[in-house]
């Protein structure tokens, strides 16, 4: 079953698989190459200057212990850009330790007798290093490079979080959509690539081994082959010039919105698009935008206000939109386009049948009966000031019992009647699917989270067609529509591209 499903997916996305594999090879190859160029000299230095040993190996060891995502995020901020550069920098940091350690170990393992014989014959220090120490240490150094390269293949899967592509792109998308097939489409080739890298670095090492007699040309070829491969893969990367770079965060709704805009830009504005989808969070998307790494991504007004501008929560939707629009324009040169027509905010859900039976339409209606009700809340919602504590104060709403539930269990619990109310996100596709009813936030307690595209103003000046294309979506997606689209992707496991195309076609937005 899975195999068959996987082979369908493989056929459907084989082109992308090739591109992602190429990106992965570039990430791994570039970072391992740079790590060799930095790590081997560092290993030699540490071998010769003994007091440097502890601090250098200590520092390399500490780098190794930094969690990958933290490393990526820090480098993203330090380098001020998303994509290949911070990803390669992070991978180099991880690759350094095995290379430095093995270079040092290899050099320390060169027989003292060989060193003395060579010195006694009149070798200078440079000749000693080049003709004796490095050749004899080579097998150990190659083992270090091998470890570094294989680790890089693994860590590189995380680089997709910061828009560097690679096979991690499938894994990210699979995680965002809880789609096992997509996960496997990234994970299996990554594992095969790791194996291949392991074998090929070993083969290069054997060709270089000075104890095996090889022609110089063969040795040169062994070193040149991986370099050429990586450079070829690098050359194969599509260039971003003249393309509209569209980003989005790593969950289903964002992927759908990204696809909607991408397809409109492609068909209506007739401009090529580069998709930087599945970026790992608000700040990554935002800094990508401010550093001219992407041109546009979908955001929510409340998030822009609180997370990006650092302003206090405000209940009025129009006021919030106005504040983020002026704040973004002044501080970042970014423009908020017209809202799409829905909010993705917190919502309190009840079963539709119960709502009808008790006449619950809005949160105020619930307050009177709350003492009799059991609420299923996530741990986070139960604690946040803009969650249950604030809600209870704003509506004088106090549930009889609060049950702590994991996000994945909330809907089941409500549908089975184990709880009467749950917290949720207002555009969740399951609201529709399970016939649930979101109670209106009549006192506007939850901050408004209207969805809209944020765009670099410069792009809009250069390519006004993009504004026109995006304007087609303004006000066209209400909460019900978004919930339905999310359901297709999150629950029915259709691809965001498919669902977006279907929506655009049925709404007549693809023109004609």
């Amino acid at each position: 079953m899975i195999a068959a499903a996987l082979s369908d997916l493989l056929a459907e996305r084989s082109g992308e698989l090739l591109v992602r594999t190429g990106e992965h090879v570039v990430l791994t190859g570039l970072s391992t190459g740079v790590a060799v160029l930095v790590g081997v000299p560092l290993g030699i230095l540490v071998h010769r200057v003994r007091w440097l040993r502890a601090p250098v190996l200590g520092a390399a060891g500490v780098l190794q212990t930094v969690p990958s995502l933290a490393m990526l995020t820090v480098l993203l901020v330090v380098l001020g850009r998303i994509g290949m550069a911070p990803a390669v920098a992070a991978l180099v940091m991880y690759a350094l330790l095995p290379i430095v350690v093995n270079t040092e170990t290899g050099l320390a393992g060169v027989p003292a007798q060989a060193v003395e014989a060579a010195t006694g014959c009149g070798m200078s220090r440079g000749q000693l290093l080049r003709l004796v120490e490095l050749p004899l240490a080579l097998p150990v150094i190659v083992a270090g490079v091998r470890t570094a390269a294989v680790v890089s293949v693994g860590v590189a899967t995380l680089s997709a979080f910061i828009g560097a592509g690679g096979l991690g792109q499938f894994i990210n998308e699979g995680l965002a959509l809880l789609n096992t097939r997509l996960l496997l489409l990234g994970a299996i080739p990554a594992a095969l690539l790791a194996l291949l890298v392991h074998l090929s670095v070993g083969a290069v090492g054997r060709v270089l081994d000075p104890r095996r007699r090889r022609r110089r040309a063969v040795r040169l070829a062994a070193v040149a082959a991986p370099v050429v491969l990586v450079l070829a893969a690098l050359g194969g990367q599509s260039l971003s010039a003249g393309r509209v770079r569209i980003g989005c965060k790593n969950f289903g709704e964002q992927l759908i919105l990204g696809e909607l805009l991408a397809q409109l830009v492609e068909t209506r504005a007739e401009l090529p698009v580069l998709r930087y989808f599945n970026l790992g969070g608000t700040m990554i998307c935002h800094s990508a935008l401010t550093h001219d790494q992407i041109d546009v991504y979908p955001e929510y007004t409340g998030t822009g206000l609180v997370t990006v501008l650092g302003a206090p929560v405000d209940g009025d939707a129009d006021a919030v939109l106005e504040r983020v629009a002026s704040g973004y324009a002044e501080r970042f040169g970014l423009e908020w386009l017209a809202p799409l027509g829905f909010e993705n905010t917190y919502a309190m859900l009840v079963r539709r049948a119960a709502a009808e039976e008790h006449g619950w339409r809005m949160l105020s209606d619930l307050a009177a009966d709350a003492g009799e009700l059991r609420a299923g809340l996530t741990d986070e919602f139960a604690r946040r000031a803009d969650g249950y504590p604030g809600l209870a104060a704003a509506y004088d709403l106090h549930f009889g019992e609060v049950v702590d539930l994991a996000p994945s269990l909330l809907y089941e619990a409500l549908v089975r009647g184990e709880v009467d109310v749950i917290c949720a996100f207002s555009t969740d596709g399951r609201i529709e699917a399970y016939d649930l009813f979101p109670l209106r936030d009549d006192r506007r307690f939850f901050p408004p989270y209207e969805a809209a595209f944020v765009v670099r103003s410069e792009l809009l000046d250069e390519l006004p067609e993009v504004r026109a294309a995006a304007a087609l979506l303004a006000g066209r997606i209400d909460g019900d529509t978004m919930r339905r689209l999310n359901y297709e992707v999150d629950e029915r496991k259709r691809t965001p591209a498919d669902v977006a195309r279907e929506f655009l076609t049925t709404s007549g937005l693809l023109g004609g």
Binding site: P111, Q113, A114, E116, A117, A118, T119, G120, C121, G122, M123, S124, Q127, L131, V132, P135, L136, P210, R211, R213
Partner: protein, 269 residues
């Protein structure tokens, strides 16, 4: 100690050379003064820890003397570039020290390579030397050291030491790791080779028989100090110190005992 007048500049002259590895508390070599004459084989003889290897390594500056001067052909070695100095001196030592990743030919031609000889000239020289030390170049040139026996490796070691045709050879117990039979045949060959090439050789050993066999003169070292220097006959005939007398008496006694044992074995047949 009687040192005859030297008419010409000696090949190597050590003057008051001392070496301390612990900042002067103890001395591996203490106030050593001696000349190595051109074309002679001088053996530095002593038990382990007597300072003979340290003395040898000070000549090619693998070890720097703490005090004193060492001259090579009248030049103070402290003023020479150590790398250039070592390329002028052939060096072979215990355990041979062939470079394990280089072929026999590459090992033999190492010093010419460092001196910048052309590839053809290097190869020619290596083949010539291999023949000279009794190894057929067609058979051995492309092998790695690990594919040779101990004796063959030592021959390559000699070839390497001779490669750039240095006037001076330093040898540190080159036969130390070899079995008795191999050692004996190599000793004889080295003797012949030395005479033929008229090299100045400084040879370190703890083996009295080897010293007597190979040395034109022998310098006996004990606890870093020179006990006596002279021809084997002088050392046996007129030992200058009790240590030297004892050194030569013990093996003589052992030989006697050995012969008695042999004759007794014959007697019982």
């Amino acid at each position: 100690m009687i040192e005859p007048e030297q008419p010409a500049t000696p090949a190597i002259r050590l003057t008051c050379v001392s070496k301390s590895f612990d900042g002067g508390r103890t001395h591996a070599v203490a106030e050593l003064t001696l000349d190595v004459r051109r074309g002679e084989t001088l053996v530095l003889l002593g038990s382990s820890g007597c300072g003979k290897t340290t003395t040898l390594k000070m000549i090619n500056r693998l070890v720097e003397p703490t005090t004193g001067t060492i001259e090579l052909e009248g030049e103070d070695t402290a003023r020479l570039d150590p790398v250039a100095l070592r390329r002028r001196i052939g060096y072979a030592f215990q355990g041979i020290g062939l470079l394990p990743h280089m072929t026999v030919e590459e090992n033999a031609a190492l010093v010419p390579r460092l001196l910048g000889w052309s590839v053809e000239r290097r190869r020619e020289r290596a083949r010539e030397l291999l023949r000279r030390v009794g190894l057929d170049p067609d058979e051995f040139a492309r092998r790695l050291p690990e594919q040779l026996s101990g004796g063959q490796q030592q021959r390559v070691g000699f070839a390497r030491a001779l490669a750039a045709d240095p006037a001076v050879l330093l040898m540190d117990e080159p036969f130390g790791a070899l079995d008795a039979l191999t050692r004996e045949s190599l000793q004889r060959e080295l003797l012949d080779l030395g005479r033929e090439l008229a090299k100045t050789v400084v040879f370190v050993t703890h083996d009295l028989f080897e010293a007597v066999l190979l040395g034109d003169r022998i310098a006996v070292l004990h606890r870093g100090r020179l006990e006596q220097i002279g021809t084997p006959a002088e050392l046996v005939g007129t030992p200058a110190t009790p240590f030297v007398r004892e050194l030569f008496r013990r093996p003589a006694e052992q030989l006697d005992t050995f012969e008695q044992l042999l004759s007794r074995t014959r007697g019982t047949r």
